[in-house]
């Protein structure tokens, strides 16, 4: 039981926390390090630097929400905790982007799945991008350390029915499955991870590293948007930031200038490339914002004979990597299989439809299972990823073309998901596709999967994992930062978030971000203390 609230206590004890909405005049602040973003990367960085005695200012565009605000309600949570009120999409509108926007970033709203970066991915990075120092053996102690820090352990409780269906289907078909490690402590098994953990069980940045930094005198300013890193010759002189009004959306007109010896960008794989592009950071090889990856996701729903209640219980506890690396690391695209929780608003938004069809489908929600496939993009020449660009107002967008190589994987994934659901006893299965009916036999489903057009908009696509755009690598001609997240051209700039991944991960990325940020922040602290 984690009923004592770490945040409320910290605020009472005098943590330095400023709500940008309360600022009424422009101000200038100074610290050793300014960290932009408070998610997996920024939180880790701030805690490690602050514990080493460096003064740290943490900047967060979203607002500070914690237990008092987490009431297991979808509509209020999507509006306040997610980027663009849960409406973020790729440039052409074809892929929905789920991404946190609050203190703790996406770790405040993720489903707690905690995977190490797969060995095959790290070995590929070593071979392809000259990142030998990130080989599995070298990274193991960093994964160990972060697994302890965030209390990550395979879920010891029985999976909920939604997850058990994936397990049963895989068992029937001889596909491998595993139990998912989760970053929770005293979890009540309620099922509301995605709307802010109501019981303080989730050990995301909000309840671990951010409090750790604040205990060590870091200063958190939330409701503050990082606009521009301003250079003076070859170094960043200061960050110019805009305070947001209490609605979290409208700039109040107050500007905050933050000066520091060193700047760490940890604003996500969309936010960080956007910030660097807006700032005109030196980019002689035009690499910023290139090779953006998203683990493109497609989905099937199934109606089961017994109740599933997919809105209750730990949302993700079983996964299958049977098809993730089966075609080789750089062969036909592989995919990881998981299940998503299904609450009414999420389901009604994800399942395309209206009128009688929609209400008849929604009425079966308690009997519904869903399986999702996460495609491992970025390991093949025909999967070069997307591009981060800037709109007229300076805000970032992701342009992500879906190549034939990926469509092939999405079609194969539809086949696999339908096979698993029918093998687990599904009465009928429906693809998340504008043209899909409910199919009562596997043969009908497979015939439809072969015939339905694999086209943007018609196939419903999602991403909860944004990666790349400031890729790391040994060669500055094809990367933005080196293997320690240090910018190739600007000496006092580091990037500590998922944007440094040179490909996707092939697993939910939070532990990869925690571990790399811990490693790179430890080195940064040594540099700055020298």
């Amino acid at each position: 039981m984690q009923l004592k609230d770490r945040i409320a206590q910290g605020l009472e004890s005098g943590w330095k926390v400023t709500d940008g909405a309360t600022l009424t005049e422009n101000r200038t602040l100074e610290a050793d390090v300014v960290v932009i973003g408070t998610g997996a990367g920024g939180g880790t960085t701030a805690e490690i630097l602050a514990k080493r005695g460096l003064s740290v200012i943490l900047v967060e565009e979203g607002r500070l929400y914690y237990q008092k605000d987490f009431k297991m309600d979808e509509l209020s949570a999507y509006a306040s905790l997610y980027q663009e009120g849960m409406s973020r999409v790729t440039k052409d509108g074809a892929i929905a982007i789920l991404q946190g926007r609050c203190v703790g970033g996406s770790t405040t709203v993720n489903w707690t799945s905690s995977f190490r970066t797969p060995d095959a991915t790290l070995n590929y990075w070593a071979e392809r991008f000259g990142l030998d120092a990130l080989a599995p053996d070298a990274m193991a102690p960093w994964f160990d350390g972060r697994e302890q820090r965030h209390n990550m352990e395979p879920w010891a409780v029985e999976p909920n029915v939604n997850n058990d269906i994936l397990r049963q289907g895989c068992d029937q078909l001889g596909y491998s499955w595993q139990v998912i490690p989760r970053n929770v402590k005293g979890c009540w098994n309620l099922g509301y991870c995605g709307v802010g953990c109501p019981t303080n069980a989730k050990q995301g940045a909000l309840l671990t590293t951010v409090p750790g930094a604040l205990d060590n005198d870091a200063h958190l300013i939330h409701g503050l948007r990082a606009d521009k890193l301003v250079m003076n010759q070859d170094r960043i002189d200061h960050l110019r930031a805009s305070a947001m009004a209490a609605d979290g959306i409208t700039p109040s007109g107050v500007t905050v200038t933050l000066k520091a010896r060193h700047f760490v960008a940890a604003a996500s794989a969309i936010g960080t490339p956007g910030l660097l592009l807006r700032s005109g950071i030196p980019d002689p090889h035009n690499r910023i914002g290139k090779r953006s990856f998203i683990h493109p996701v497609n989905a099937c729903v199934a109606e089961m004979p017994e109740k599933v209640e997919p809105f209750y219980g730990a949302p993700q506890s079983i996964y299958s990597d049977h098809f993730n690396f089966s075609g080789g690391v750089d062969g036909p695209v592989g995919y990881k299989l998981e299940v998503p929780p299904l609450h009414p608003a999420m389901s009604a938004g994800v399942i395309p439809g209206h009128g009688d069809t929609q209400i008849n489908t929604m009425a079966r929600l308690p009997w519904m299972n869903s399986v999702i496939a996460l495609l491992r993009d970025g390991f093949h020449p025909e999967s070069p990823g997307g591009t981060i660009g800037l709109r007229d107002d300076g805000s970032p967008y992701l342009d992500y073309p879906v190549t034939d190589y990926l469509w092939d994987g999405l079609r194969r994934a539809f086949h696999t998901m339908a096979e698993i659901q029918f093998a687990a006893g599904a009465k009928r299965v429906r693809l998340m596709h504008l043209d899909s009916d409910w199919y009562t036999t596997l043969a009908d489903a497979k015939a439809a999967i072969d015939q339905l057009p694999m086209e943007l908009h018609r196939v419903r696509l999602f991403t909860a994992h944004q990666m790349g755009g400031c890729g790391m690598g040994a060669n500055p001609e094809e990367s933005v930062v080196n293997g320690f997240g240090e910018h190739h051209h600007v000496g006092n700039l580091s990037v500590h978030d998922a944007s440094i991944f040179p490909t996707s991960i092939g697993a939910n990325p939070q532990l990869s971000v925690y571990a790399l940020s811990a490693r790179n922040s430890t080195r940064l602290a040594n540099r700055l203390k020298a």
Binding site: L3, D5, Q67, K68, D69, F70, K71, M72, D73, E74, L75, Y78, A79, S80, E84, G85, M86, S87, R88, V89, D92, G93, A94, W188, L190, Y192, P198, T199, D247, I249, Y312, H343, P344, A345, S347, A348, G349, P352, G353, H354, G355, D356, Q358, I359, M362, A363, R364, L365, P366, R391, D393, S395, Y397, L434, D435, E455, L456, H457, R458, R460
Partner: protein, 212 residues
Amino acid sequence: MNDNPEVRSVPSDFANLDRRSFLKTSLGGALFLGTVSVTAGLSGCGSMPAGRVSAVGTRMDASYEFRFLTPDDIQLFEALLPAMIGPGLPEQPQARRMAIAGTIERIDAGIHNFGPANQKELRRLFDLLNFGLTRVTIARVWSSWPNVTTEEANAFLERWRTSGIGLFNNGYIALTKISNVAFYGYEDFWHLSGYPGPPQWAVDALPQFQNA
């Protein structure tokens, strides 16, 4: 229906335009939608948020202040929601009006949190649907929205769902997503999806649900 004056006023060359090829490219689509926004503004289609709608003679809760939807947008959703939600709406007239009005308010509240970029996209979409010329030529809806029947609204949604033009599919997804989320996600309608809400034992045990 075809003696609607707006139909006759469509210039024949425009009506015969190969819209499919024009809209196929996103550039064409963007230019076209941009034109609509400008035209709609000039022709007096209000793009100002409706603010507080008087409770007298309307179905709205006068205390709710609209921050994004215009009076035209509200009429659009009043016409679309019966097709969108279908039998999920109560039959009793007063309850039905309240359900529609509340859903439109939650749509407005949701869009407010979308931020400027997606608001701009939705403004283009709503202007296209509200402006008579484009409502007829693009959406193929002949009557103005307050005169559109549920069957006609449903036919429009079906056309955009099954269209081979990605831009229309995208419009269908945008309209259904914001409506479905605002409707099915709201506590009063959870029963329609068999969702009992958060477990009561947890609500009883957690401090954030206890009154001070």
